[in-house]
């Protein structure tokens, strides 16, 4: 049977801190993103080369895409939403590479993979969701100051008070929905691939692998797009509160 574990395995400990296989993959993904970024922008010219063209197409395309959602705030929020997209996409796709989840070592009877898809670990997805939610609240407060807080705590009217509680619950539930949507999709995909590879190792897993590539892209898009939408809503709400006094 293939090795399937809901939680990421602890590979080692560094100064008492646990190092999971998902954390190692996260570092790998970070390394890939940083090296590719460096290579694509180290010698930029007005007439772009191949790598620069790809980088320009990718970043320019993302900028225009998120610009349609966030409007005039695109310059403020672009680094966050673009990083979410690129990081999640890279993490999802790296999780599909051969060796991830299959290369590892045995602790007696128990197999511990050296690498695990970064987004197939709840620590990563919850961290991303928390980061996104904190950023959303930050931009809300940044746009309209303390007035933004009235969205959650408004004692002027009983209806507004209960609406505030609902808003608060809604914000907290967004973290959970963000984190579990991404984790669920990617983890389910990895389980599916592992089971298919175990049952029929040749050719048959290929369509599923293709589908997982697509799912990885869609999940990255959904996560970053929803963050952009919530950011815009928070900023718009803040602006509205600010205008109404």
């Amino acid at each position: 049977m293939p090795h399937i574990s809901l939680a990421a395995e602890i590979v080692t400990r560094l100064a008492g801190l646990p190092i999971s296989n998902a954390l190692i993959t996260t570092w790998l993904v970070m390394g890939i993103l940083i090296i590719l970024s460096y290579l694509s922008t180290r010698s930029m010219t007005m007439v772009p080369g191949r790598i620069q063209s790809v980088a320009e197409m990718l970043v320019g395309g993302l900028y225009d895409f998120f610009g349609t959602v966030t409007g005039t705030y695109v310059n403020d929020v672009f680094p966050l939403v673009a990083s979410l997209f690129l990081f999640i996409l890279a993490a999802n796709w790296v999780g599909l590479l051969p060796g991830v989840g299959t290369v590892g070592f045995f602790h007696g009877e128990e197999f511990t993979p050296l690498l695990r898809g970064a987004t197939a670990d709840l620590n990563t997805t919850v961290a991303l969701a928390l980061f996104a939610m904190i950023a959303i609240q930050y931009y809300g407060f940044k746009t309209s100051g303390m007035h933004y807080g009235k969205r959650f705590f408004n004692v002027g009217n009983p209806i507004y008070f209960f609406l505030g509680i609902l808003e608060l619950v809604s914000e907290l539930s967004k973290v959970i929905s963000f984190a579990f949507r991404l984790f669920g999709n990617i983890f389910a995909g990895e389980v599916l691939l592992a089971v298919m590879a175990f049952l029929m190792p040749f050719v048959v897993p290929l369509p599923f692998l293709t589908m997982e590539l697509f799912v990885g892209f869609i999940q990255a898009l959904v996560f970053s797009m929803l963050t952009a939408v919530f950011l815009t809503v928070a900023v718009s709400h803040g602006k509205e509160v600010h205008h109404n006094g």
């Binding site: 999971s20 570092w27 970070m30 922008t41 007005m46 900028y63 966050l80 673009a82 990083s83």
Partner: protein, 166 residues
């Protein structure tokens, strides 16, 4: 939480990792690429503005050129018309002079012919008188004395001259 694998230290590590990614990608990727795109956009806009300006200038110059060509054509037409007119005038003058000269030549020829005719008529008349005188001299030689002959002849010749208007 433990069954789901959520561990605070790993969660914090992932938050820090993502924060690093945001900062590094902003510095290494987004700023340079967006800066370059903006720079290129400005250069293209400037290039287009220059092209537009040049086009407008070329149009202006083209208009001026067309105007100059039209003026030159108009001037050439005027010059040509003048030249034609002068040519016609000169032609008319030459023809008139030639006609005048021809008329003079004809007149002169007529005059000379008339003079020649007059001279020849005089000669013929004198010859006729001489002939008549000779004939009369022979006819009347037997009838009249030489003196009477001469008187008679002279008288006839005078009459003849009066009759002819000489």
């Amino acid at each position: 939480m433990e069954k789901l694998g959520i561990e605070p230290s790993l969660l914090l590590a992932q938050i820090v990792n993502f924060a690093i990614i945001v900062v590094v990608l902003t510095k290494l990727l987004y700023k340079p690429v967006l800066g370059m795109l903006e720079k290129r956009k400005k250069e293209i806009e400037e290039g287009l503005a220059i092209t537009e300006r040049m086009r407008a200038e070329a149009e202006k110059l083209g208009g001026r050129r067309e105007k100059l060509i039209a003026e030159a054509r108009s001037e050439a037409r005027v010059i040509l018309e003048d030249a034609k007119k002068q040519g016609h005038d000169a032609e008319r003058e030459i023809v008139a002079n030639a006609q005048k000269e021809a008329a003079e030549i004809i007149e002169k020829a007529k005059r000379e012919a008339a003079a020649t005719h007059e001279a020849l008529s005089g000669d013929i008349r004198a010859e006729a008188i001489n002939l008549a005188a000779t004939m009369a001299k022979r006819l009347v030689a037997g009838i009249l004395s030489p003196a009477d002959q001469h008187k008679l002849i002279a008288k006839h010749l005078v009459d003849l001259g009066k009759a002819k208007g000489v």
